[in-house]
């Protein structure tokens, strides 16, 4: 478990790092929890013209009037610009109309493949996870993919036990070979670090480690021999402005860790 070292939680740092993956005007396939907050921060600060797409059939371009616990909470419907069928928003994704998607997962590997189905042998699983949801679709079809998950040697692994959501498979050329029309992971954001993918080797490369972590901590907690990018550096801290917006949406720290809760270190 990673602990916080500043006046912000690691969850907040992750949200802010994720929000910076969204560029202005982009169409964003928004996941729940941290990605949703990341979209809200980006929308308010540096990406005012971005549009959020939800797999339940909602498209909206203004933040919700309340913190969401799920994408189908009533505050996500009110003020949406489109309430429609899942097939329509998945159609946008498959056509190539979605710029960036966010997913979570239990494991990610060196080539950005994500497992959210089985820990251990899929035929006799040690843990049966909830499954893909829309994650495999987003990973298959978005132009860029951002993966968000907790860090650990059993989570950042050489090869996932089950490839729920395709990353770069076994390396360069794999996505084209299997017929995926585009895309692939662009970043993995954990509670210790930020990885980006080398366009030549398709491998996750360490770009940032979070304040409070050492480079060594990250390397020791990652399940493959990590390459470190030239100019790798500590993750930029959240600004006052970013934290302000974020805490406006999640004042209780429901998704980012409550700074006043007793379960904090």
């Amino acid at each position: 478990m990673v602990t916080d070292v500043a006046d912000w939680t690691v969850g907040e740092l992750m949200v802010v790092a994720a929000s910076r993956e969204i560029r202005d005007g982009e169409v964003v396939f928004v996941g729940m929890r941290l990605p949703l907050l990341a979209y809200c921060v980006a929308k308010r600060l540096h990406a005012p013209r971005s549009v959020g797409v939800f797999e339940n059939g909602i498209v909206r371009d203004v933040p919700t009037p309340q913190l969401l616990y799920t994408m189908s909470d009533t505050p996500n419907v009110v003020g949406a610009v489109w309430c429609t069928r899942m097939a329509n928003v998945m159609g946008l994704l498959q056509r190539g109309d979605v710029d960036v998607g966010f997913i979570g997962g239990a494991q990610v590997d060196r080539f950005g493949n994500v497992n959210s189905s089985y820990v251990g042998d899929p035929h006799r699983p040690q843990v049966k996870l909830p499954g893909s949801g829309g994650a495999a679709d987003i990973a298959s079809l978005a132009k860029r993919l951002v993966v968000i998950l907790p860090h650990g040697r059993h989570r950042l692994v050489e090869r996932v036990d089950f490839r729920t959501s395709p990353g770069y498979g076994d390396g360069p050329g794999w996505r084209q070979r299997v017929g995926l029309p585009r895309g692939g992971p662009s970043a993995v954001i954990t509670d210790r670090a930020v990885f980006r993918f080398d366009p030549q080797t398709c491998e996750a490369v360490l770009h940032h480690w979070h304040p409070g972590q050492s480079l060594q901590d990250v390397l020791e907690n990652t399940g493959w021999p990590v390459r470190v990018a030239d100019g790798a550096s500590p993750t930029p801290e959240p600004s006052e402005e970013e934290l302000g917006v974020l805490r406006e949406y999640d004042p209780e720290g429901v998704w980012t860790g409550n700074r006043n809760r007793s379960d904090r270190p």
Binding site: G57, Y69, S72, V77, C83, K128, L129, T164, G169
Partner: protein, 308 residues
């Protein structure tokens, strides 16, 4: 508006008893986290239906409850768990340890569930997709086949059609013939309704046909495709119904904590399902918390005129 002797407007007990036979394939939870017909799931549990195949994109905890109660042989779903609180304990016990019985899982994705039901609605054997290529998800040959575009030669995945025996769907309002209005995120509801042999509607309100006919673009599907209409206010709690009540987030947390053990699950089931004869009794058990969920901020739709 009371039930008509020969009509489709029936009590929930009768709708489940007639249209959810042992071994049926049932699609539910089609809007994703909203409009989940929990009341129908609870009635299925009370009627001790067995060997069901459940179909849905995600189901929040509805599928977890049916699995924990031993009603389910097979799940065709993209995700099973507790959306706001975490894993589904009953689902894990069944899939990892066969408690109370083993459950077969057909892995799929949200889009693949939508396509399977859309194929069923369209009456074709499959629909093609570019999703899931290279994923381990499509490993069941009865549900997926690899193929290619005959024009370009590019790889495609074929998602096989599903035509469930019954779709159990919640709507805001229905007339007694099953012409119904649904609003909010639609998920795979339309596809599920059109694909299924029978449709059972749980309506917050039963209204005159004129109300429905006044806005035919908001109709889910025509009444001739609907087998039963159940007037079931509050039937979706703890999930939300736009215009009627909010999501009861705490209830999901409580379920998550209470069902961590098998004994805890059985206790939860006794309290909220087996000891309550119907939805009315369930809502009474909820008490003032139910009233609180129904205090809403209004958000009326702009008027529309079909003037002719």
């Amino acid at each position: 508006m009371g039930p008509r002797p020969d009509g489709k407007l029936v009590p929930l007990r009768e709708a489940i008893s007639r249209f959810v036979p042992e071994g049926a394939t049932v699609v539910m939870g089609t809007c994703l986290e909203s409009l989940i017909p929990f009341a129908a799931g609870h009635e299925i549990i009370r009627q001790r239906r067995r060997d069901l195949t459940l179909v849905g994109p995600i189901s929040d905890v509805l599928f977890d409850q049916l699995i924990g109660a031993g009603c389910v042989a097979r799940v065709v779903a993209a995700w099973v768990g507790n959306v706001s609180a975490g894993l589904g304990h009953a689902y894990r016990r069944a899939t990892e340890h066969g408690i109370p019985r083993p459950v077969e899982v057909v892995d799929t994705s949200n889009f693949a569930v939508a396509l399977a039901l859309m194929a069923g609605a369209l009456g074709v054997p499959y629909l093609p997709t570019r999703s899931l290529l290279g994923s381990d998800v499509p490993r069941h040959a009865e549900a997926f086949r690899f193929s290619e575009d005959p024009w370009s030669g590019e790889p495609l995945l074929l998602v096989r059609a599903i035509q469930p025996d019954v779709a159990i769907l919640a709507v805001q309002r229905s007339d007694p013939d099953g012409n119904a209005h649904l609003w909010g995120n639609l998920g795979v509801t339309e596809e599920a309704a059109l694909a299924s042999r029978h449709v059972v509607l749980l309506a917050e309100e039963v209204v005159d046909p004129e109300v429905i006919r006044s806005d035919p673009n908001r109709v889910l599907l025509p009444g001739f495709k609907v087998s039963a209409v159940v007037h079931c206010p509050g039937g979706c709690h703890p999930s939300p119904v736009p215009g009627y009540y909010r999501r009861d987030h705490a209830f999901y947390e409580e379920y998550h904590r209470a069902t961590r053990t098998e004994e805890g699950f059985r206790e939860w089931l006794r309290t909220w399902v087996l000891e309550v004869p119907d939805r009315q009794a369930y809502l009474e058990r909820l008490g003032p918390r139910w009233e609180a969920l129904r205090r809403l901020q209004p958000a009326p739709a702009a008027p529309v005129d079909y003037a002719w």
